[in-house]
């Protein structure tokens, strides 16, 4: 572990703007920023979904215009071509996260990837009285599938608590694992609200020592920093294309091969079978065992192009850019009176920052900002228990990607002063 430290242990953010790529020049590669509109788009919601570069849109269009055919079925030329493009995307994703291609299962999104584990692994393995450890900072995607399972199987859910500054209280983990009933520790790699980068390798080590598996929700990490699933030492990782410059509609589950092979299928249908008789079926090999029905082919092709785009930028450069922006944002946000930042200091977080502004409701904050073309997220960001823990009903969040610029943060600060003018006492 630690061979690729960027994923697990954040170093200090660079002092000067990172020069590996120029975000202003990069924006020209993203058609949405060149589309004429009343006010230029200042997009600070990349944690919800990232924008898409031209190469992604072109790759999808090339598929539809040039070789649209179903995969793994036809033996004609364009069907072969489509199959090759789909599997090429899988190989690229696998290499991107340090996995073997057959360990990458395409799903609809991260949520479905977690549900896949909850159904195919947990329901075939766990029994009443077993326990699962989650954390207080989880997205609903890593809570609700386990609520459903817990109710069905009498599985106990335990939670690693967080500190007031939004970090996991790791000292609580040994106690949660002590009775040997925990079968899985499932937790977020980078929090979508706090930005906190969790110590994945350490949590996985403790989980394994207690006889449990470890799964990460990597929705906010794979798109932003170098993630090597093997180096991190986890057993499953869920992430999604649309946050990593790719299209919506396709997500990924990575799982260790021996686990995936032992698991029963998730959804039944075409493609996932080896042989079907009226009385029953046998399953296809990995990864197709988990890919029932026609998959999002164009989306896989677009995702493959997004991975190439990210690799060309370099994930270390993307991460450094995120961290430079979040450092700048945290510094400037202190200028706004009554503003409370949720989560840890810049050195411990990824490229996002959520905050509250006095008693002004985040919807009102976001609506006033929208008048200046600034797109931020307002609400509970699918993390209601976390907001309850922090004692706030909702928050406003600004989040970044490679095309984000300092001037967008400057506009945000100006906008927040306007919000106070409208709603201030």
């Amino acid at each position: 572990m630690g061979a690729r430290p960027a994923a697990a242990a954040p170093g200090p953010a660079p002092a000067a703007p990172f020069a590996a790529f120029d975000p202003a020049a990069l924006r020209r590669r993203f058609p949405i920023f060149n589309t004429p509109r009343e006010k230029p788009l200042l997009y600070l919601d990349s944690a919800a979904t990232s924008q898409k570069p031209d190469v992604v849109l072109e790759a999808m269009n090339r598929y539809y215009a040039g070789y649209n055919a179903n995969i793994h079925r036809g033996v004609y030329q364009i069907a072969e071509q489509a199959t090759e493009a789909y599997e090429d995307a899988r190989r690229r994703v696998a290499r991107f996260v340090g996995a073997a291609p057959r360990e990458i299962i395409f799903t609809r999104n991260s949520t479905e990837a977690i549900n896949l584990v909850a159904h195919a692994w947990a329901r075939s393995t766990l029994k009443a009285g077993d326990a699962i450890v989650l954390t207080e900072m989880e997205h609903h995607a890593n809570l609700v599938p386990w609520h459903l399972l817990a109710a069905e199987r009498r599985i106990e859910l335990r939670f690693i608590p967080i500190t007031d500054s939004g970090e996991l209280m790791l000292e609580a983990l040994p106690g949660l694992l002590a009775d040997g009933r925990v079968r899985l520790v499932s937790f977020v790699h980078i929090s979508n609200v706090l930005g906190t980068i969790n110590p994945v390798a350490e949590i996985a080590r403790q989980a394994h020592a207690a006889g449990a598996l470890a799964m990460i929700d990597a929705s906010q990490s794979v798109p932003h920093c170098r993630v090597d699933v093997r180096a991190l030492g986890v057993d499953f990782a869920a992430f999604t294309s649309h946050k990593m410059l790719g299209p919506t509609g396709i997500g990924m589950l990575w799982g260790r091969r021996e686990l995936l092979e032992a698991m029963p299928p998730f959804l039944g249908g075409g493609e996932m079978i080896r042989e079907v008789k009226l009385s029953g079926s046998t399953w296809n090999d990995l990864p197709w065992k988990f890919e029932a029905g026609t998959m999002p082919i164009a989306e896989a092709v677009g995702l493959g192009a997004a991975v190439v785009f990210l690799e060309e930028l370099g994930m270390d450069a993307v991460f450094a850019h995120d961290r430079e922006l979040v450092g700048y944002a945290l510094e400037r946000l202190t200028e706004v009176p009554g503003l409370r930042v949720l989560g840890p200091p810049a050195a411990k977080r990824g490229g996002l920052v959520a905050f509250t502004l006095g008693d002004i409701h985040p919807h009102d904050v976001a609506t006033v900002l929208d008048r200046d073309g600034i797109a931020v997220r307002a609400g509970h960001h699918c993390a209601m228990p976390l907001h309850e823990r922090l004692g706030v009903p909702a928050s406003t969040r600004a989040s970044f990607h490679c095309y984000s610029e300092r001037r967008e943060i400057d506009a945000l600060i100006d906008g927040l002063h306007k919000v106070q003018k409208v709603f201030g006492a």
């Binding site: 409701h361 919807h363 008048r371 609400g379 209601m384 009903p393 306007k418 409208v422 709603f423």
Partner: protein
């Protein structure tokens, strides 16, 4: 500063009418907007078929709070029969603004809560096209 935050909305938001709770309300109902976690509770006392007193409480954005304040102002003292007829368009007219599909739910949370409390209608007002009660 702009159309959405007209003076009447900011006025109701800053100085809400009928904010609070009733001690022993005849009807009390609480609802939430799952999109943003906003909560709203309405307490009503009914006498002789009229809404004698109404109070609202909860948390939410300026649109949902102003809409609750305006709705309470509009219904106190009115016969239930008349209140029954209040539609989503009436509330939007009171607010005097255009709302997109997301903020629409903020604007209609009070009416939804009122209707659920008084008549047990739990759908969002006007959720289904052409169905506006």
């Amino acid at each position: 500063m702009d159309d959405l935050y007209r003076e009447n909305i900011l006025d109701h938001y800053r100085n809400p009418r009928h904010r609070g709770t009733l001690e022993r309300p005849d009807i009390t109902y609480e609802d939430a907007n799952p999109l943003c976690g906003d909560r709203l509770r309405m307490d009503l006392n009914v006498r002789d078929g009229r809404i004698a007193e109404v109070r609202f409480s909860g948390t939410g954005c300026s649109i949902s709070q102003a809409s609750a304040s305006m709705l309470c102002e509009a219904i106190e003292g009115k016969p239930l029969e008349e209140v029954k007829k209040i539609s989503r368009d009436d509330v939007l007219e009171m607010l005097g603004i255009e709302l997109g599909p997301v903020r629409l739910k903020c604007g209609l949370l009070a009416l939804k809560t009122l209707k659920a409390g008084v008549y047990g209608i739990k759908d969002w007002p006007g959720e289904v096209e052409g169905e506006d009660q």
